[in-house]
């Protein structure tokens, strides 16, 4: 039982804070970064690579650092604290872990060194309009051809899908039912392959996404990531890892937002006194602290369980964590805005930006009702490890 970072993890935390902090502490600069190129700083991305962050999850044989969920937690918390825009979640945590866990030797050899050096970014094209949060609701299909497969279908809200050079796309390869766990296969394709069209959009929280259509996209058999028809398990595992990652990001964002709010309460004066001298506001700040610490505790639990070999236990734990994070993020975000008053609802101040990111995290990879159903069906939380 040990809740403390190792020396290496502490060093990782310090170096990433030094990287992200100065890059995004000025909102004007952040806005300028959003407006240019891919909507984040390519220069900063190459510094992520220099620090080894982009190689973090991959095994040492593949040229990575063999980092686990705790290392990912350290990075994602820093990204949350700093309001960073780089596509770490989409490209490293999600696509990276799909390749780590499912990639063939050839795919790993071709992609991982380039992901690690920052020159290749990959996005996961999975969500569909009708699927909502059901990970196994896949209508896009891949038909067997003489040379491989032909992919046909539409994907929505592909995180950072606007600028990725490669996509991992989920498609149904067998089974008549659209929502069957079995019969889903993942394919690695070039983002500019013939038949792929993209509509890019900015997201509410200042990042980017894309809706991506696959109209008769031909891929060879060697494009399969993982096992034919067994993509569902891989998707579930990696989304659990992604949930642990956004839990950490939310904890980072809540930590900064809470500190910002305390600072505001202690300095903003009305009626001749700092407004933080009013007990009703102090108690709100305490309730934010409580929500934050409960979220932090559950994020540790999520990080621990993200590597569990038992998919049922893992699923239940990550769903419980997501419920806690959603509840805490909503309360901390809304209360922070309220305590700030008018300045909290402007784009000219950081509080609103944290609130927006925290709100969007609540809708990522399953909302509270969705995960509550999973916890319920798994039999609740009493008999967990």
């Amino acid at each position: 039982m040990d809740f403390e970072y190792s020396d290496e993890q502490r060093m990782l935390k310090d170096s990433i804070d030094r990287l992200i902090g100065p890059a995004y502490d000025d909102l004007g600069k952040r806005k300028a970064t959003q407006a240019q190129g891919p909507g984040f700083s390519e220069e900063l991305w190459s510094k992520y690579a220099e620090l080894g962050l982009t190689a973090l999850p991959f095994s040492e044989e593949d040229g990575g650092f063999g980092g686990g969920p705790v290392e990912t937690m350290v990075v994602m918390e820093a990204i949350g604290r700093g309001l960073a825009l780089e596509p770490y979640l989409a490209s490293i945590v999600i696509a990276g872990n799909l390749l780590r866990l499912g990639g063939t030797a050839g795919q790993r050899e071709a992609c991982i060194p380039k992901i690690a050096d920052g020159s290749l970014r990959v996005a996961f094209a999975h969500v569909e309009r009708q699927a909502r949060y059901d990970l196994f609701d896949v209508g896009t299909h891949a038909k067997k051809t003489d040379h491989g497969y032909t992919i046909e279908g539409d994907k929505s809200v592909v995180l950072s899908g606007d600028s990725a050079q490669k996509l991992i796309v989920s498609a149904r390869t067998s089974s008549a039912s659209r929502r069957d766990h079995h019969g889903i296969t993942l394919f690695l394709v070039d983002a500019d392959a013939p038949g792929i069209s993209r509509r890019d959009f900015p997201t509410q929280d200042g990042q980017r996404g894309a809706a991506i259509s696959f109209a008769g996209v031909d891929v060879p058999e060697s494009a399969i990531v993982g096992t034919l028809d067994h993509g569902g398990e891989l998707i579930a595992h990696v989304i659990d890892i992604a949930i642990a990652a956004v839990c950490s990001e939310a904890v980072g964002a809540m930590t900064s937002l809470h500190a910002l709010t305390l600072d505001y309460l202690k300095t903003r004066k009305q009626f001749g006194v700092p407004i933080g001298s009013f007990q009703v506001l102090q108690h709100k700040a305490v309730d934010m602290f409580t929500a934050l610490e409960q979220a932090r505790s559950m994020t540790y639990f999520a990080a621990m369980m993200a590597t569990s070999d038992d998919p049922r236990e893992r699923r239940r734990a990550l769903s419980a964590a997501k419920v806690q994070i959603n509840n805490s993020a909503k309360f901390v975000g809304e209360t922070a805005v309220q305590l700030h008053g008018g300045i909290g609802v402007t784009m000219e101040y950081r509080a609103g930006h944290y609130f927006k990111r925290l709100t969007m995290i609540q809708s990522l990879f399953g909302d509270t009702d969705h995960h509550m159903r999973i916890v319920d069906h798994a039999g609740g939380m009493l008999e967990t490890v």
Binding site: M1, D2, F3, E4, Y5, S6, Q9, V70, L262, L265, K266, G276, S277, Q279, Q282, H283, A285, V286, D287, F289, T290, E293, Q294, A295, S297, M298, Y300, F301, A303, M304, A320, V323, Q324, M372, R373, V375, D376, G380, M381, L382, T384, V385
Partner: protein
């Protein structure tokens, strides 16, 4: 970072679980588990069994019967005890007056009192709160005046939990009314409840039962040597004691036990064509409480691990244990009340003997009659030990820097 228990800790947990299951009588555990109170004899019996095995006061200094366990072992011991619905050793004895005497008492006091406290040969109660001194405890007015080799005590205490069963009371009394600050000039004095001038009046609570009392002191004379620690420095003892009270305050094991019971019973509560448990709305309420409880368990473990690694350095996360722990305990009683539905209405005086020839209750299910009383009773948990609003004041000042 590694959040798992070591194999040794897992083995210790199994050992504790087995001990409580095999040694604390099942009827006592069943009664507590079904939301009923245990009587004095059962409580004493349970603590004496634990004491016989060295499990009544494991957290005490080793020379007085402690076990030298790590904070994690103590946590596991407490959780398993509550999870198995055992009456916890009387906190006024084992977590309050015992540790105070061990820390502040004379050698003679330690020899006289500690073994009897551990074995509950004397039942102790707490004489802190007064009608005019609740959250503002330091404003207490009960007076102790030294006359020769005696203290003469006058005043009134209230909210004295289980004082109706007590042999002794530890009292905070004002011994120097001229002190500069209200916290100064208070002393910590031990009083035999049989002393002339001590009057106890039980107060009926909204659950219908008697748990707290008013205690009057009318020219009560006790030996000067019943003072613990330094005269006029009783506030140090009180602060030490209240710090001790914090360690068990989340009562996670007890909430787990109640939730387990709700899950079990709700499957057989008729509703529509099936059972209450078929209702997704109800199940989600249960799951929501369980998730909060899981988060609190992790918070508690963070506090325990930090205690192990850094000693008693105050931990910011520890301050939320009281607030969240009490909210969750109350939420579990709300769920049980909802589960009971209309059958929560029938009142059954738990002190009344059930008439001969009947073993059932006036109306409803056997389990349902405790739902409303427990719900009513548990409003106390966000009030005692420093109300949750006082806890928020403490966090605001000590953690958030207001």
């Amino acid at each position: 970072m590694d959040l798992r228990f070591t194999p040794e800790e897992v083995a210790f947990r199994d050992q504790m679980r087995t001990f409580f299951r095999e040694n604390i009588p099942a009827d006592i555990r069943n009664r507590l588990g079904s939301g009923r109170h245990v009587n004095k004899e059962e409580w004493v019996e349970s603590q004496r069994i634990m004491n016989r095995h060295g499990y009544a006061v494991p957290h005490w200094p080793v020379e007085y019967g402690g076990r030298g366990w790590s904070p994690i072992q103590l946590y596991i011991y407490n959780e398993e005890m509550m999870s198995e619905n055992c009456p916890t050793p009387l906190p006024f004895n084992t977590h309050m007056v015992g540790p105070v005497i061990a820390a502040f008492g004379t050698e003679a006091q330690k020899a006289q009192y500690l073994p009897r406290i551990a074995n509950i040969d004397d039942w102790w109660c707490q004489g802190f709160s007064e009608p005019g001194a609740g959250s503002d405890l330091a404003s207490l007015k009960t007076k102790a005046v030294r006359e020769g080799e005696e203290w003469v005590i006058n005043g009134q205490k209230t909210w004295t939990t289980l004082g109706q069963w007590a042999d002794w009371i530890f009292v905070l009394a004002r011994t120097n009314p001229e002190a500069r600050k209200p916290q100064e000039g208070i002393s910590f004095i031990l009083v035999d409840m049989k002393t002339p001038g001590v009057t106890v009046r039980p107060i009926q609570l909204i659950d219908g039962d008697y748990e707290v009392n008013e205690v009057w002191f009318d020219d009560v004379r006790v030996p000067y040597g019943n003072l613990v620690g330094t005269e006029n420095r009783g506030w140090d003892c009180a602060k030490f004691l209240l710090g001790n009270e914090r360690s068990n305050i989340a009562r996670i094991g007890a909430s787990k036990a109640r939730l387990r019971r709700i899950r079990e019973i709700a499957r057989s509560v008729p509703a529509g064509d099936g059972a209450l448990w078929d209702s997704e709305a109800f199940r989600h309420k249960v799951a929501a409480v369980e998730i909060e409880l899981k988060a609190l368990e992790m918070t508690q473990l963070r506090v325990v691990a930090a205690e192990r690694d850094h000693g008693n350095k105050p931990n910011p996360a520890s301050s939320i244990l009281k607030i969240k722990g009490s909210e969750i305990q109350q939420a579990t009683t709300e769920l049980a009340l909802q589960m009971a539905g209309p059958f929560a209405l029938a009142y059954h005086d738990s002190n009344e003997e059930i008439p001969e020839g009947r073993n059932d209750l006036p109306d409803g299910f056997g389990w349902a009659d405790t739902a409303a009383p427990e719900y009513f009773n548990y409003r106390k948990v966000s009030i005692y030990g420093g109300s949750n609003e006082i806890q928020r004041n403490i966090i605001a000042k000590a953690v958030l820097g207001f």
